[in-house]
């Protein structure tokens, strides 16, 4: 797996940095998305990811594009060292190129309410 880059909408970047809420995987860097990359939109709402099952091929680069309509959320895909905060009113984007197949759980890692502990999903790499 390689995390080539990550980006947050340019119009929000300064604000995000100012708030100190940028928390990305250790290998993630700010970079523009490649237009040919497949984009998967994910809504992080109380208390579920929609969709909660993501299908990606090994070696395929995808852009995970997050929004949170309610409260601050987190996305953590520990097996790929990938995480970000997802703030209401912003679009947050992560790039993922998985290099291993299998099922990998991701979860919200910002305690968001009564259903927080059930807020998770699965990345399936084939």
């Amino acid at each position: 797996m390689s995390i080539d880059s990550s980006l947050i909408d340019g119009s929000r970047r300064k604000l995000v940095n100012a708030l100190g809420i940028l928390a990305l995987g250790s290998l993630a860097t700010m970079a523009p998305a490649q237009s040919e990359d497949r984009v998967i939109d994910i809504v992080a709402r109380r208390f579920e990811f929609v969709p909660d099952e993501l299908h990606v091929h090994r070696g395929e680069t995808v852009i995970l594009r997050f929004t949170a309509p309610d409260v601050p959320m987190g996305f953590h895909l520990a097996d790929f060292g990938l995480r970000t905060d997802i703030m209401p009113g912003m679009t947050t984007t992560l790039r993922l190129t998985p290099d291993k197949v299998g099922s990998f759980i991701f979860l919200c890692d910002i305690f968001c309410g009564t259903g927080h502990e059930e807020m998770n999903g699965t990345l399936i790499v084939s």
Partner: protein, 299 residues
């Protein structure tokens, strides 16, 4: 204990489960290097993850388990020096009024403990939705230190930040406190979440916990006790031992043993299985800790 130390007593009487010896860096230290005159044998009790207010199939006796544990502590043959609850005193609720109601009820139940003092630390269910505001109203500060019979205890708060961070301010506070300690001081740290990456896939970690471990690493005799994962677990980061406690509401699966972090089912044939509390004995002569796991109720 006179003639027979407490560990021998527990082993001989069969009270509780296995006694776990915490192998610490300090244990390897020459006994004669200990400033023995300042250390005394004592023991305390750790209870964790009571989740008062929880209702559900994983524990059909959710309202009865905590009072039973309190009664069991009160029935111990010897009185511990203190009791500490390592977080998730209450089950989370989005309603601030209900949160305070649960904390009030919890406080009333544990007021039945005969031993004093009773100390508390917060869990994410108590503190993550309001930055610890309600917890502080009922139980006081979320990070603090105290000393007892030659051991320096440090309580860390890795839950008031909903993102599971200690934060730079608290880390600076920890660094300042540690500067006051001798490098061979006996130090015990309490936290709710593990300070190391136990299993981040299930959020069993503290995002900046490694920074706390780095600060503690120069000290020869450090042990960490925590909760959060609802099961006994023992881990070493270098010479620092980390011990998690069982829950008093429902057990969780071993890390990574099943796809998702869902409670283990209640077994009517073995009620309260996987639940319990622990005694921790600090011995002056060995500079280590004996952990004794106890059930909610005696069989």
């Amino acid at each position: 204990m006179r003639g027979l130390d407490r560990r021998q007593f527990l082993q001989l009487t069969g009270v509780g489960g296995a006694v776990f010896m915490s192998g610490l860096g300090g244990a390897a230290r020459a006994a004669d290097s200990l400033p023995g005159s300042s250390y005394e044998d004592f023991f305390f009790v750790q209870l964790s993850d009571c989740h008062w207010g929880f209702e559900g199939a994983p524990n059909p006796d959710a309202k009865g388990t905590l009072p039973k544990a309190v009664a069991s502590v009160n029935a111990l043959e010897q009185v511990p020096d203190f009791v500490i609850f390592t977080g998730d005193l209450t089950h989370t609720t989005d309603d601030p009024t209900e949160r305070r109601k649960r904390m009030s009820e919890f406080r009333d139940i544990v007021a039945e403990l005969k031993v004093k003092p009773v100390r508390f630390i917060a869990g994410e269910h108590d503190a993550s939705l309001d930055s610890g505001t309600a917890f502080k109203e009922f139980f006081g500060a979320t990070n603090y230190v105290f000393d007892h019979k030659g051991v320096h205890f440090i309580v860390l708060d890795n839950v008031s930040d909903p993102g599971a961070r200690l934060g730079d301010e608290q880390l600076a506070w920890l660094a300042d406190d540690l500067k006051k300690q001798a490098r061979d001081a006996r130090i015990v740290v309490f936290a709710h979440r593990p300070l190391f990456d136990l299993y981040p896939q299930w959020d069993w970690a503290t995002r900046d916990g490694a920074k706390a471990v780095d600060l503690l690493m120069p000290y020869a005799d450090v042990t960490v006790f925590y909760g959060h994962i609802h099961q006994e677990h023992h881990h070493m980061t270098g010479h620092i031992a980390h011990h998690s406690a069982k829950s008093l509401i429902f057990p969780l699966p071993a890390p990574g043993s099943q796809p998702k972090r869902t409670p283990l089912p209640w077994n009517p044939a073995q009620p309260y299985r996987g639940l319990g509390f622990r005694e921790i004995e600090a011995e002056s002569k060995a500079a280590d800790y004996a952990l004794t796991e106890l059930p909610v109720q005696k069989a």
